[in-house]
Subunit: 319 residues, 2 copies
Amino acid sequence: MKKVVVGIDIGGTNTAFGIVDIEGNIYGSDKVSTQAYPEVNDFIEELCGRIKNLLDSLPFLYELQGVGIGAPNANYFKGTIEDAANLPWKGIVFFVDKFKKYFSGIPVYMTNDAKAAAMGEMIYGDAKGMKNFIVITLGTGLGSGFVVDGRLMLGHNSIAGELGHVTINPNGRICGCGRRGCLETYASATGIKRTVFKLLADNTDPSEFRDLSFNQLTAEMITGAALNGDSLAVEAYEYTGRVLGSALANAVAVTDPEAIFLFGGLARAGKYILEPTKKYMEQSLMPNFRGKVKILLSAVDGMNAAILGASALVWQHHK
Amino acid sequence: MKKVVVGIDIGGTNTAFGIVDIEGNIYGSDKVSTQAYPEVNDFIEELCGRIKNLLDSLPFLYELQGVGIGAPNANYFKGTIEDAANLPWKGIVFFVDKFKKYFSGIPVYMTNDAKAAAMGEMIYGDAKGMKNFIVITLGTGLGSGFVVDGRLMLGHNSIAGELGHVTINPNGRICGCGRRGCLETYASATGIKRTVFKLLADNTDPSEFRDLSFNQLTAEMITGAALNGDSLAVEAYEYTGRVLGSALANAVAVTDPEAIFLFGGLARAGKYILEPTKKYMEQSLMPNFRGKVKILLSAVDGMNAAILGASALVWQHHK
């Protein structure tokens, strides 16, 4: 019997899931609209029904080892989703308890997307065999998952890894969290848009971005322009890497990782994000850490990364 | 038979050691001059001889569970002391291997003083039962020991916890590590001396410190003056707490601890260091961490803290 797990990625619009083996092979995947279910019980009923259908359709005998769920504002210890701004369900939702009614006896683990990405890198990606590393997710915001001595660092309240809200500059950019100068106001898809607008304000160079509004501009456009050698886009990535690299130097001093993996939207800029981040991190590092920490692009990143990351939460415990 | 361990604190001048039980009772202690032994083998021979004498003098039957050593620049994984500026032995010293020749079959653990202080707090102090906490040692420099999910965070190279070298301000004070703006240039015994001199430069208020040279001034004097209500000394502690509190807010965002313990020289200022640190940390915290993290004075701090911390390294494994 083949051992499989279910990986579920709960997003604001859709919830994707798939059946995964220890090698990271995905045997079928499907999705459910998150937005279509204002009542969480209805959502879970539909989701679990669809998962069971998918399991039933497997062309081989299987042994379900567990279910891993990635969700915003997930509390690993309590199995709750708490005050998630982008989900239809308000307050504290006892998601795992409700979910387990449909899968009794099966272990269910839930954490946020950045911690799931770290587990994905450890089980399926280039962090295989590493005991101490960090995964940085550069999406709309900046998330991070720290692995310490082979285990996910959760913290006392299950909210460790908020590197996106480390203060870079107390007089810096206003953040959605209500403060100023958080790392994610610089190093994220939104952050690099803000940087492009700062550069458009600071200089008079012609740029294709002068014809776009803030709301029209996307990080993908900036990445595309950088890959085409556009100087303003390259400069925006250089600035992003400078801020990110300096912040990572501090994270290294505290946690002494073997490697840092960049994951998500901005990581698709490849060397344009990797090189400045590495250069400025090395410059900012305390001497005894220099040359010791690899900065790498995630090997799991891509279409199914979120499903894989969620599924890895189970393999971490049940290899 | 009583289970005991040996705790050893290797300092630049003297090396202190004692025999300790799980309650933190010390059954005799002694010390050896570190400086008197330019050859490490001679030092270890003398040290181990003295430890055996102390063990032989115990008025009860004992079972030696292990030896814990706190030393500057100690590598936990390799059992080495590496390029310790304040010790007579240069380069990489395979201290634990040499030491074990005198105590064959006995587990020997070695780490630096801040990590040992964290273990001491967990085994004997107010971190008993806590799984996630930080100990900050405010001595000549600033050290830190992070406990994550009940275990000491060592990192990939055994050099995690260098919070003293997190960059607070890239244009800030010059640090002994060769960079600028490291936390310990502000928050340490040396840091607060620098702060007093900055305040003496910035204003014209009379102060008892205007009659002292930089080399004459000590952190103890500043602490004494603060406890007597001297306004400049209180202001120096306020400034120290502001810098420390802001830096701790970032450490909290990454590691989500239940509590932070202040240990060492500056901690003796009590509320003068505790209150500003707490106030500015709360102000700087991301909203979802506010009100959740205790800042406390170490319960182990005092004359035998270093011996207790070192001994705790053994109990962590052999309770």
